[in-house]
Symmetry: C2
Subunit: 144 residues, 2 copies
DNA sequence: TATTAAACGATAATTATTATCGTTTGTCAA
DNA sequence: TTGACAAACGATAATAATTATCGTTTAATA
């Protein structure tokens, strides 16, 4: 952590109303330097190399604080547990980032063209997330 | 369950290589008649009204069998546990339905126009799922 | 109708996450 | 600088969701 990064982190904490702790700073740096979509356990394993005494609970708590402050983002905004789709017609979803409610919306009704604004049911659209579902290269091999 | 529905269910099971059991049939009917995106617990509560002795484990096992057979679909194909996004640039995702691997893809690189076929990294696209992220009507009220 | 594999119910085990609580640390005003 | 106090920490218990185990029951089919 050089002086510039350190000052930047202090400002980030100030904005978020968070104390500048050693654990928090190292977690911030570790996350900045990881790539992909790590799980809390993976982050914990990495940060333990720099702070062996850190607790997994601290990692969870600080990740959540970073998410709430918008310092980092969560990969999926869906429910974290199993839900069954009862609508067999092809459709997309309106996902509320506050309460995680999910509403169906037809593909045509959606009109992908950046129609940010009011949608059916008074839903306020803020951004789109597209998942391309399919098979990765490795899994295509396995199927053969 | 009328005769037509019963015969239809038998064929569904035959195709999937599943035995036709009472519990399985009632679960199938219950799911067909639910709407939205119920959790296994919600399905369990509903089916218990018709088979009070049914086990939650049976509900879970049969939901999974239905999902594997493609009889029903899961709402989210993401990891069911927390993942941190380390890529701060706006982007979308390639999601492997077999191993749940997630790869980043830029919005422009995506070219939403039904480009089903080979994508970066040899990913085989099969369908698109769009999440419109935002605030539902109820949550907009709360913020005011 | 007898054989046998599949499915069932009860429940223990596991995984991911959150809550609790006593101790330590950072903030800020004096 | 320092002392008071709130915030954060580490250890670990508790909870929620899901899966595994296992003895008993049931469906498929010959
Ligand atoms: Mn849906
Ligand atoms: Mn990503
Ligand atoms: Zn909401
Ligand atoms: Zn894969």
């Amino acid at each position: 952590m050089n002086a510039v990064e350190s000052r930047e982190f202090r400002e980030v904490c100030k904005r978020a109303g968070l104390a500048v702790t050693h654990q928090r700073q190292v977690l911030f740096e570790v996350l900045k330097n990881m790539h992909g979509h790590p799980s809390p356990e993976e982050v914990y394993a990495r940060i333990k190399r720099r702070i062996p005494s850190i607790s997994l609970a601290t990692v969870y708590k600080n990740i959540h604080l970073f998410l709430e402050s918008g310092i980092f983002r969560e990969v999926s905004l869906h429910h974290g547990s199993l839900r069954v789709e009862t609508n067999s017609k092809p459709h997309h979803h309106l996902v509320c980032t506050a309460c995680k409610a999910i509403f169906d919306i037809d593909a045509n009704e959606l009109g992908l063209a950046e129609k940010t604004g009011t949608l059916p049911g008074g839903f306020l659209a803020q951004r789109y997330a597209v998942d391309v579902l399919g098979l990765c290269a490795a899994c295509q091999q396995k199927t053969v």
